[in-house]
Amino acid sequence: MPRKAKSSARKSAAAPKAAAPIDIDAACKLAATLLSAARLPVIAGMGADVAGARAAIRLARATHGVYDHLASAEIMAELEPLRRARRFATTPDEARVRADCLLFVGAGLVQRWPEIGARLAVGAPPALQRGRARKIVWLGGDRADVKGLGAEVDALAAARRDMGPLIGMIRARAMGRPIKAEKSALRRIDSLAETFKAAHFGVAISSAAALDPLALEQLAGLVEDLNATTRFSSLLLGPRANGAGVTQAGAWVAGFPPRTGFCSGEAEHDPWRFDARRLIESGEADAALWIDAYGDEPPPWTRKVPLVTLTCGDFGGGLVHVRAGRPGVDHDCVEMAIETGVLTPRAASAPSAAPRVDAIIERIMAHLPGSCA
């Protein structure tokens, strides 16, 4: 059965020419044929708003496929401290109005969120901490970002690979444990640990893109430890392409974040098994729908499979491409907004007729065998 299904998927996939423009309904029909004929289809990329994510997960379920997000590695790294230990989190609003200590950790944070300095009002004292000044520390930041933040920063340069050990050493000293370090380094680390312990309400700001997973866990541990005597929390900037919003939608639609499969009919989550790239490179998956309505990022695999692409650009690497509207630009949407840290309504900034991801997927689903639509 699998072989037969596989060959029929290949056969139908070979029919159209990649570049031939076809109308959207024909494209959706062809996409439905490819996905339903596959032995194991993956719905990957998933750069979509909440409505698009809900639809994509339903499509994965309807086709007994898998859903994965283009930034799943970061999603998994952010989830790891939550799944294995403890995590303290706060919002950009609280970081802005309450934090008397802002601890930036890692490089690339400004690139991820160019307005970060203004949004967190880094140059001003925290509005809800009467009379308390704001201290800013940056560990392992890009020099230009640190300089351009618009506030006085106590910066400590460190390479990405050294971040985990560095945070670990600060954590050890904050808890009064000995570490092996040169005198001057020990003084510096002790001084940082004291700064964090002296904060009334500190916020550590980082992201899974800026730190390796172990460093991110170490940071979660530092924040937790500091709460033994004072208040400290953390703000993670979240993966690109609405990764955090897609994760939330996954939680209520399927019970799980991305890297979840419906092979058995029920949702099963396994970060290794349902990694879209691994599934395709290994040949386990034999068709893919790639979604990136926020950009035009290509799929990360090299192996050729029947591929339907749904991006806001003109990506042409697949058999069928539908150009989708960009959430919040071409159409209204809900997404995890970086400036609020919650699922946020976003009105279209330049409304257009470009179709929404959820609308395209609904049309694909209407063409699936057995659909009542």
Binding site: V50, A51, R54, L79, L82, R83, R84, A85, R86, R87, F88, A89, T90, T91, D93, E94, R96, V97, R98, A118, R119, A121, A127, L128, R130, H200, F201, N227, T230, R231, S233, T247, Q248, A249, A251, W252, V253, A254, G255, F256, P257, S264, E266, A267, E268, H269, D270, D332, V334, A337, E339, T340, V342, L343, T344, P345, A347
Partner: protein, 544 residues
């Protein structure tokens, strides 16, 4: 279409029916037996109990914290890597879709998500939109927000507070207002680790009592059908019965709903300084007609606690089972998500279990005591049938009590209580009274004109089996469950209250957001365009 449910034991406290007879449905409503017309469809309810659809007034079924719990505990689902085949939380479904289906299976037709922080309202509504079959409502949580506390500090009057509450209800599309450990989350942000009724929130100079009173007054002033829904201070602490009694007195005779009372029924007696004070608390509730309560029954299971009482959740990290947790310092409220396992062999858990049942059985008036486990905090909602069985059988309770650790029986009065709930009392507690408490006048009854939410259960001497799977469930007149299986899964509505207010508060709050947060307030709104089913809202009228 006319539907006849025939020959069942009909129990409907609001219309006074407790008899064998028929229930008729036409166009989604209960109707009087039509003269000279026959039914288009007939359902045999002989040897069945027929009641209105059940209503759960306090169950954490949606929103950001529920999502966090799911993401924190992948191993609690039925399917995650090396895993037990079946877990307690897996039995609760754990997706929006399964939540609706499993509630319906038990004959429930309306469920209230009681803890929605205003800035997370859109998240909650998105998730509720995806819960099929049942109708829903949310309570908006205030009392740990800078805007309110600053207004109270400045001495602004009751009208200003009421306007703010009304605007919050509008913005969050909520049915009522809730307050969780008033001021406690704000105090925790100032590194306060214990916070009681008369403790003062640093920087604001306000006590928990003052904040609670202000919100209670606002609910009265706005004529909200649902009174202030209060999660008191000191949840879970030995000796906290004193807090509960002081809080009932603090209500000043005004309507007040106390959530999950079981978690406040603890004394400090005995060798372990932990005992049941449920009898004392029940007596206080019996003597306080202005107060309604829900229980928050504990059952022995692996579960997860989801609460905006961040202070309590922070303390709870120490006893988490398994040892994980999430602590959230939010804009308007904070929260904590901490897994926990209630064990039959654990003295403290066993006392908690007994406390809940004592309260159910010792509070005399079934119109003022409501059936909850504070899902999933005391236990997942799927254990309800077993609790119905315990309430209706003293023999069953005795069996359970005998299996508990030594010393538990001595610390509670449970073994001496002979009361067994009747079907009529169950119908009041789970149907008629919740409809009244929520102001949902169209339901909770089988009287002509009521919404045709009807649950039919096959009579069985094992009440747990009987209430686990409805023989039939009708939602808005449509058959949705047959023999415990979902046969149709339409989407219900979400109910909200819309009290009037002076629109000046909108401009004022807009300015507040712009100046404090540097953001437009509408980023935290719930606009129609954001919802998959924006039309699916209903209104609960304010009191006359």
């Amino acid at each position: 279409m006319i539907v006849r449910i025939s020959g069942g034991h009909v129990v409907d406290p609001l219309s006074g029916r407790n008899e064998t007879g028929d229930v008729w449905i036409e166009d989604g409503k209960i109707v009087a037996p039509p003269q000279g017309q026959s039914a288009d469809a007939e359902y045999d309810a002989r040897n069945c109990l027929v009641m209105a659809g059940a209503i759960d007034i306090h169950s954490h079924i949606a929103g950001a914290n529920v999502a966090t719990a799911r993401l924190m505990l992948p191993e609690a689902h039925a399917a995650y890597m090396a895993r037990p085949a079946q877990t307690q939380l897996a039995a609760a479904g754990w997706t929006a879709e399964e939540t609706g289906r499993r509630y319906a299976r038990m004959g429930f037709t309306t469920v209230v998500e009681p803890a929605v922080s205003p800035h997370l309202a859109l998240h909650a509504h998105l998730e509720l939109s995806d819960i099929p079959i049942i109708d829903k409502a949310v309570l908006a949580v205030l009392g740990n927000d800078d805007y309110l506390l600053s207004a109270l500090r400045k001495g602004e009057g009751a009208t200003a507070v009421a306007d703010y509450v009304a605007l919050t209800l509008q913005a969050t599309r909520a049915l009522g207002v809730k307050c969780i450990n008033a001021g406690g989350a704000m105090a925790f942000k100032e590194n306060v680790r214990a916070f009681s009724l008369d403790d003062v929130v640093p920087q604001y100079g306000l006590t928990s009592r003052q904040i609670m009173e202000a919100l209670q007054d606002a609910a009265v002033k706005l004529k909200l059908a649902h009174p202030l829904h209060l999660h008191m201070n000191n949840l879970g602490l030995p000796g906290n019965v004193e807090t509960a009694i002081a809080t009932i007195d603090a209500a000043r005779g005004l309507p007040l709903h106390l959530a999950h009372l079981q978690f406040y029924a603890y004394g400090k007696e005995g060798g372990r300084a932990f005992s049941s004070a449920a009898a004392q608390l029940a007596e206080k509730v019996n003597a306080s007609p202005h107060v309604t309560v829900d229980i928050g029954q504990v059952m022995f299971s692996d579960t997860v606690t989801i609460s905006l009482d961040v202070l309590r959740q922070f303390t709870g990290l120490k006893t988490a089972r398994p040892r994980k947790g999430f602590i959230y310092d939010g804009d308007i409220n904070s929260a904590g998500v901490v897994p926990y396992s209630y064990k039959r062999s654990d003295f403290f858990n066993a006392v908690q279990w007994a406390c809940g049942l004592e309260l159910f059985l010792l509070i005399d008036d079934p119109w003022r005591v409501f059936f909850t486990t504070d899902h999933p905090n005391g236990a997942p909602f799927t254990v309800y049938p077993e609790i119905f069985a315990l309430l209706t059988s003293r023999d069953r309770r005795a069996e359970w009590l005998a299996s508990l650790p030594k010393g538990v029986a001595e610390t509670t009065t449970l073994g001496s209580i002979r009361r067994e709930y009747t079907f009529e009392e169950l119908a009041i507690m789970t149907r008629a009274a919740p409809a009244k408490l929520l102001g949902m006048r169209d339901r909770g009854s089988l009287a002509a004109g009521a919404t045709a939410d009807v649950a039919v259960y096959g009579l069985h001497k094992d009440r747990a089996k009987m209430f686990a799977a409805a023989r039939y469930l009708f939602k808005d007149g449509a058959l949705v469950v047959r023999n415990g299986e979902i046969v149709h899964a339409p989407y219900g509505r979400t109910f909200r209250a819309t009290p009037g207010f002076d629109r000046a508060i909108e401009r004022r709050l807009d300015r507040y957001y712009t100046s404090l947060y540097g953001l437009k307030r509408d980023l935290f709104s719930v606009p129609d365009f954001a919802l998959p089913r924006p039309q699916a809202f209903g209104e609960v009228p304010c009191l006359a």
